[in-house]
Symmetry: C2
Subunit: 260 residues, 2 copies
């Protein structure tokens, strides 16, 4: 998919499986979401996990049990409108598919969580360089030593993403991201990676390493991969998530998420 499709046009292409890949940079200006789908008897604990850990798990939308629609986020069907899904059994990924129609159950609850694409767009609009974008790679992500608050079986270290900036741009990045608490908000750490248990910036646990110049300061944001780690720990018998980078594209404007 190329050009600047509308969210609805992009979802139509996804639904027909004309587009089955990464959504980064597509439908610019619109919120893309991390997706977690769970049986409703697991939903309360996961909802509580999101409530306790809003930085890694900023909840933007949630469905009724069995209802594949999230009308607040657009005219969409969660069974077909994510380009690629991961299917989990007992906390382990067992399949990657482009539709979950065949797997749908009337007890499934969908959670849509904010994603860093929104704040990266705001950083770019603010004239800042986002290293993973200029290097055309995935953002580097790390399992930090920061422990999320547990909710029932859901427990996890916080996964963080890292973007390096000059000092002046770091200050500006903090200001810009503060306006967007529902897409991870301000960084949770800056400076020495070891203070949050990261031994080496050049060996991320997920994504790709990016260059960090000697005068730059690494900024660390709470990351939407965290709930996938919590899923692995909680081991629900059945769950579905989006595949990393293949997000649900919504009709909500990024600008609508700004708290001021």
């Amino acid at each position: 998919m190329s050009g600047n499709p509308s969210p609805a046009a992009l979802r139509a292409a996804v639904r027909s499986q004309a587009h089955t890949g990464n959504t980064s940079g597509l439908a610019p200006g619109y919120v893309q979401c991390n997706i977690v789908i769970l049986p409703c008897d697991w939903a309360y604990d996961f909802l509580r996990f999101c409530q306790l850990n809003p930085r890694p798990c900023p909840l933007i939308g949630m469905s009724e049990p069995g209802d594949p629609h999230l009308p607040a986020l657009g005219d969409l069907d969660i069974r077909t409108d994510v380009p690629a899904y991961r299917v989990f059994e007992d906390g382990r990924p067992v399949d990657e598919v482009h539709s979950v129609e065949a797997l749908w159950r009337d007890d499934l609850v969908t959670f849509a969580l904010g994603c860093s694409f929104s704040f990266e767009e705001a950083l770019l609009a603010g004239g800042l360089e986002v290293r993973n974008m200029s290097q055309k790679c995935n953002v580097p992500m790390y399992r930090s030593s920061v422990t999320c608050a547990a909710a029932g079986p859901f427990r996890s270290q916080m996964v963080v993403s890292m973007r390096p900036f000059s000092a002046a741009d770091a200050i500006r990045a903090i200001q810009i991201c503060t306006r967007f608490p529902s897409v991870h908000g301000a960084p949770i750490h800056l400076g020495d990676p070891q203070l949050i248990g990261i031994a080496d910036l050049q060996t991320p646990d997920y994504g790709d390493a990016v260059s960090v110049h000697p005068t730059e300061i690494p900024l660390f944001w709470a990351c939407g991969v965290t709930p996938q780690l919590a899923l692995e720990t909680a081991q629900p018998p059945f769950a579905i998530t989006h595949s990393p980078g293949c997000m649900l594209v919504t009709d909500v404007r990024n600008s609508a998420l700004a708290v001021l």
Copy 2:
């Protein structure tokens, strides 16, 4: 002067010279100002210097030529209501006095500039530790390598103040101070002091050194001492400032300066 006097009561004590010293911590909740008084034929260039350099020189009030009152800031007389003044001739300090009534001229223009006391109060209210306050000393200040924009004869390196914080508190401090652009606003730098020409944090050019713990990050704010440096360079034949730490206490609430 002890207790929590109102701004008017404090100014009355200053006017009678019952209080002739530091105003730090007095009249909590109210804006205190850096003062620069210049002949009106120097006022245009200094006003332009403030306009070009709002971070070190945030202009909060300004008088008409010869008028010792600043009604927007309170019922005050600038000739008597500052605890201690410095008198400058040709850019050099020549005297320190507790009243400038005998020196007043009908061509003098008063500039009142925002001061870090306001944002320090906001940081404390936010639960942060302000090191120079907990160590009961003056904040350390440094002549940085950052060059202010020049306006006629007024030119200066930027003087910066430094306060150390943990990474999480540094991020919060940036958020808090961003709300207060008229009292220096967000830091202008964080991290490596050498990047802004500071060789050693423990030997400040003004004020006192404070301890910086190994895991802390120094944050640097534009400082109201900068205009005094610009005065030294510009060498107006006559000028008056407050003496450091002995500020004009106004009736404006700190909270009224918050932009949101």
